[in-house]
């Protein structure tokens, strides 16, 4: 090394060290990034290039027992908005005008939670073609907005059977936690009520997915993996669309009838028709109804409020299974059978009806609906004429015998508990007893004791007794079926992709009632007399088939009377049972009876005609 080199040796050394430091620092950083954190970066790189898209499965159809489609699918032009657009006020305003929707609603829908965070959310469906064309022509002015063709539910029968069929909507957080719906994701469209909800997992099918490799602009380069969706299965219900239609019309006619009778508060009702040998529900109706179309693509806030407002009569409620009423005189069939079974009465035992009944003491008088009294009256005629006194006497005797035999008998029919129909929202009803009363009035010691009047009230289907229309239909089906109550159900079969059933519902016994054939025959004769010469005579005058039925007029505190009719037919060889209730409809014989007649006519293939009946008895 030269002399200057010796002199500058420390300088060269420092220079060399700087070079080594630079290369060393870079090496350490590379070791950290490539070796220590390599997997994390590799995951980020994979995340960059791979996009996974779900491929929605086509939802299964719902058909009636004859294969008539009740719910199918149809394509719809939908406008979807990316969540990123939710803060673009100008864009939202333009969309609001274009789609005729409130800005806030578009914003809410665009920002709804989704598993796929960046996927555009559908904000409007069934968008008119001119709007679609406008959006396509002005794409640049609507960033993040796209038009999609999506499949939505189609209701070929309109509002028919809306309650039992149900509607669909986006999965709720509650449903996401439902064990049955495991694997569902935010944003999935699922059944919310009715059969749509009950058979959700069958109808839904399995979503497929597609894994794509995309470049930096998001354009797909190739498909890495694709799993095709498996369409949902078609479901066949036990419902007969024709009978269902007659049933719904009958309820509406009954409301008109009630209004004509000056029961102007009558706005709601329900009816059930069941096959007594199989438990198949042939028709199930509830009024007022709603249009399931409103829920497609998400129901608007305004419409939702209309359907759930407390002044709305709650049109979304399926009153046939979710509402409970006092059964009134329709319960006399149970009280009567219990009396016969326990030797409290025979077919031709005689009672005395003074009109005002004071057996429990002068301070607790009870009135027969016929204030002038039926005077000497047999059990048979007591059913036929719905004489309250006959059943007060039977109820009072049950009270005196103790052991709550009447309630126990009622429970044998399945009252006071859910029948377990394959629909969501069924309620239990109530068969009151001493234990219930003590518990219910826990904080009111003076009301805890079970009194004679409690049993007497139950005997005529009043007091604290509550039933659903489905329960009443099942009770009459059980009476018609020799004391065997079949499990009510609406599922008939599930179809495989080839149209062959993969699952068929079997008839199952739900309840066996301890009642002799002789006693059932006694009740059968009495119930036939009801429609022949008794309180249901007007409603069934000229009906070609013998009907065993019972009117009912329920007293509900603060309301007009609720009209009931329960029946089975043909009386000699029963096939179907029906129940009809009209809230605040007035008299069972004149309002509910004619509706039951129309439903039975449809069930039995007879001409459906609306009759005017004037019975104002109970």
């Amino acid at each position: 090394m030269s002399t200057f080199g010796e002199q500058l040796k420390p300088r060269f050394a420092a220079f060399g060290i700087i070079v080594l430091l630079v290369l060393g620092a870079l090496s350490i950083r590379l070791w950290s990034m490539q070796v220590l954190s390599g997997d994390e970066y590799a995951a980020l790189a994979e995340n960059n290039r791979i996009r996974e898209y779900t491929l929605d499965s086509q939802r299964g159809r719902i058909l009636d027992r004859n294969g008539t489609p009740l719910i199918t699918n149809r394509p719809s032009m939908a406008v979807a908005v990316a969540p990123s657009a939710k803060n673009d006020d100008d864009l939202l305003l333009a969309l609001s005008t274009l789609l005729d929707m409130p800005i806030q609603e578009i914003r809410d829908r665009a920002s709804s939670l989704r598993e796929e965070a960046l996927k555009p959310r559908v904000v409007a469906i069934d968008v008119p073609m001119d709007v679609v064309a406008y959006l396509a022509e002005n794409e640049a002015r609507f960033p993040g907005v796209e038009v999609q063709t999506i499949a939505v539910r189609e209701y070929p029968m309109g509002t028919l059977g809306a309650h039992l069929l149900g509607y669909t909507g986006e999965i709720s957080e509650e449903q996401l936690e439902d064990a049955e719906l495991e694997g569902y994701l935010l944003g999935d469209i699922v059944g919310k009520t009715g059969a749509e909800r009950e058979f959700e997992t069958v109808l839904q099918g399995d979503r497929g997915y597609q894994r794509l490799e995309v470049d930096a602009t998001g354009s797909p380069r190739r498909i890495i993996e694709q799993v095709d969706p498996i369409p949902g299965r078609d479901v066949i219900l036990t419902i007969d669309a024709g009978v269902q239609e007659v049933t719904e019309n009958a309820l509406r006619s009954a409301l008109d009838e009630a209004h004509a009778d000056d029961f102007t508060a009558a706005k709601a009702g329900a009816a059930v028709a069941v096959d007594i040998k199989t438990g198949e529900i042939i028709a199930m109706a509830s009024v007022p109804g709603y249009d399931p179309e409103l829920f497609l693509g998400g129901i608007s806030q305004v419409e939702w409020e209309k359907l759930t407002d407390k002044d709305s009569e709650y049109p979304l409620t399926n009153r046939a299974i979710s509402a409970q009423y006092p059964p009134a005189s329709t319960f006399k069939a149970i009280t009567g059978l219990a009396g016969l079974e326990h030797g409290v009465t025979t077919e031709w035992s005689t009672f005395y009806c003074p009109g005002r009944w004071t057996e429990m003491g002068e301070q607790w008088p009870k009135w027969c609906w016929k204030h002038s009294g039926h005077h000497n009256i047999t059990f048979h005629t007591g059913v036929e004429e719905s004489c309250d006194t006959v059943f007060y006497e039977i109820g009072y005797e049950f009270y005196k015998q103790g052991d709550e035999k009447l309630q126990k008998f009622a429970r044998e029919f399945g009252l006071g508990e859910k029948l377990g129909i394959d629909l969501p929202g069924e309620v239990r009803g109530r068969v009151p007893d001493a234990a219930w009363k003590a518990d219910y009035n826990e904080n009111y010691p003076e009301y805890i004791k079970w009194l004679p009047g409690d049993t007497v009230n139950i005997a005529i289907g009043q007091g604290d007794l509550l039933v659903t229309p489905l329960q009443v239909a099942s009770v009459y089906a059980g009476i018609a079926n020799g004391g065997t109550v079949m499990q009510p159900h609406i599922l008939s079969a599930v179809l495989g992709t080839d149209g062959v059933p993969v699952l068929t519902a079997e008839a199952q016994v739900a309840h066996e009632v301890n009642v002799t054939d002789e006693n059932l025959a006694v009740m059968n004769r009495a119930l036939m007399a009801v429609t022949d010469t008794g309180t249901g005579e007007g409603a069934f005058r000229g009906f070609d088939v013998a009907v065993a039925g019972k009117t009912g007029t329920a007293e509900v505190s603060g309301k007009d009377d609720y009209a009931w009719f329960a029946a089975y037919a043909p009386a000699n060889e029963p096939r179907y049972a029906v129940s009809v209730v009209i809230e605040q409809g007035g008299h069972g014989g004149s309002v509910a009876g004619p509706a039951a007649r129309e439903i039975l006519a449809a069930l039995l293939g007879l001409p459906v005609e609306h009759v005017q009946a004037t019975d104002i008895s109970r």
Binding site: M1, S2, F4, G5, Q7, L8, R11, F12, A14, F15, G16, I18, V19, L20, V22, L23, A25, L26, S27, R29, L30, W31, M33, Q34, V35, S37, G38, D39, E40, Y41, A42, L44, A45, E46, N48, R49, E213, V214, D215, A216, T217, R221
Partner: protein
């Protein structure tokens, strides 16, 4: 004698330097081929890069052949050449603007080269000539001012283009040469303070008054805070880090980098080519490159210390400083530990002016080496 002829040849040629150069050129060619393979004009770009290497052999040979000691006497003309080179893109009819900077020389609209590249080498020779006058001891303020004066001219002109990155390369070259050239330690402290103040001023002033442009600000800020400018500089940096990190130990294979081939990586054949290397060859590949660089520097340092005079020593030190600084800034930028500047990676990045310059610089090293015992 054959033996002495061999010895003479061996004494004139630094075999290790040429070996490392060839290895780097091959490595770079393979990398550019991979990085450009996804482009429509990919093969044309690759051929252009090879052409750049071929053309670069001419200045390499010329620089090797020139007796560098003679250059000392050409200080005036060299300063004039330096200024001309840097100003030339500003001359109407000769300029070509790309990437916001007017840094290309063009004739008839055809891009020729970036004159600031050869200007680096001219500046190295100028600074070496000036610094060597002080025989390894620069202490007096007047001397320091004189040295700095020679530096301010090219740097000032470069900053006017504006090309902050290249300006910094000039400064780094000078600093390395001053370190070897014997500038007293306290002056480095003074320069350090001045640099910091200048940096603050650049940041504080609006761009109309000589401050940084918005994109430059973002590039610097993103180095501090990765969240800044997520669609511009922040995106580039994030994608670069993902590319390098995801290479892991052995990489995804040449031509198989998803970050680069699917266009997530910006400027993958030029400024961010190291990210392609990191992604496709992994830690093994990046270490191999750093090892080649290390070999190059050790050899060059050997040349610097073996020079017959301080002038040659300083030329070699200038070349080393230029390379080390560019590598540090370029690789550091792709790793997120240096701010983003448009400084390419020697022998690796696509671009022929840059390639030719680096080959010429190698020729300068060879010139110093081959004349270490006299001419």
């Amino acid at each position: 004698m054959v033996r002495s002829a061999q010895n003479r040849l061996a004494s004139r040629v630094s075999v290790p330097l040429l070996v490392f150069l060839v290895l780097l050129l091959v490595y770079g060619a393979v990398l550019v081929q991979s990085a450009t393979s996804g482009f429509t004009a990919g093969s044309a770009m690759f051929r252009r890069q090879l052409l750049g290497m071929g053309i670069g052999l001419i200045p390499l040979a010329v620089a090797w052949g020139i007796d560098y000691t003679k250059l000392k006497g050409w200080l005036g003309p060299l300063v004039l050449l330096d200024a001309l080179l840097i100003i030339s893109p500003r001359i109407p009819g000769l300029s070509y603007t790309a990437g916001g900077a007017t840094s290309w020389l063009a004739i008839g609209g055809i891009r020729l080269f970036q004159p600031s590249e050869p200007a680096k080498l001219v500046t190295i020779v100028i600074m070496a000539a000036v610094i060597s006058q002080y025989k390894g001891r620069i202490e007096k303020p007047a001397d320091v001012l004189k040295v700095v004066g020679y530096l301010v001219l090219p740097v000032g002109l470069i900053l006017l283009q504006p090309d902050l990155g290249t300006g910094l390369v000039f400064i780094a070259i000078a600093m390395g040469m001053l370190l070897v050239g014997g500038l007293q330690g306290r002056w480095f402290a003074v320069f350090g303070v001045i640099m910091v103040l200048a940096g603050v001023l650049l940041f504080a002033l609006p761009s109309d008054y000589g401050g940084l442009q918005e994109y430059q600000r973002n590039r610097l800020l993103v180095f501090v805070d990765n969240e800044v400018d997520p669609r511009g500089a922040g995106y580039n940096l994030a994608q670069s880090k993902i590319a390098i990190g995801s290479g892991g130990l052995t990489g995804k294979g040449l031509g198989s980098g998803t970050q680069s081939n699917l266009n997530f990586l910006p400027e993958r054949h030029t400024d961010f080519i190291f990210a392609v290397l990191g992604e496709e060859t992994g830690f093994a590949g990046t270490m191999l490159l750093l090892a080649l660089y290390l070999g190059l520097f050790v050899t060059a340092l050997e040349i610097s210390t073996s020079s017959r005079d301080l002038f040659g020593s300083l030329i070699a030190a200038g070349v080393i400083s230029m390379w080390v600084f560019q590598i540090m800034i370029n690789i550091g930028m792709t790793l997120g530990i240096m701010p983003i500047t448009g400084i390419p990676l020697p022998f690796m990045s696509f671009g022929s002016s840059f390639m030719v310059t680096n080959l010429a610089a190698t020729g300068m090293l060879l010139s110093v080496w081959s004349r270490r015992y006299g001419t």
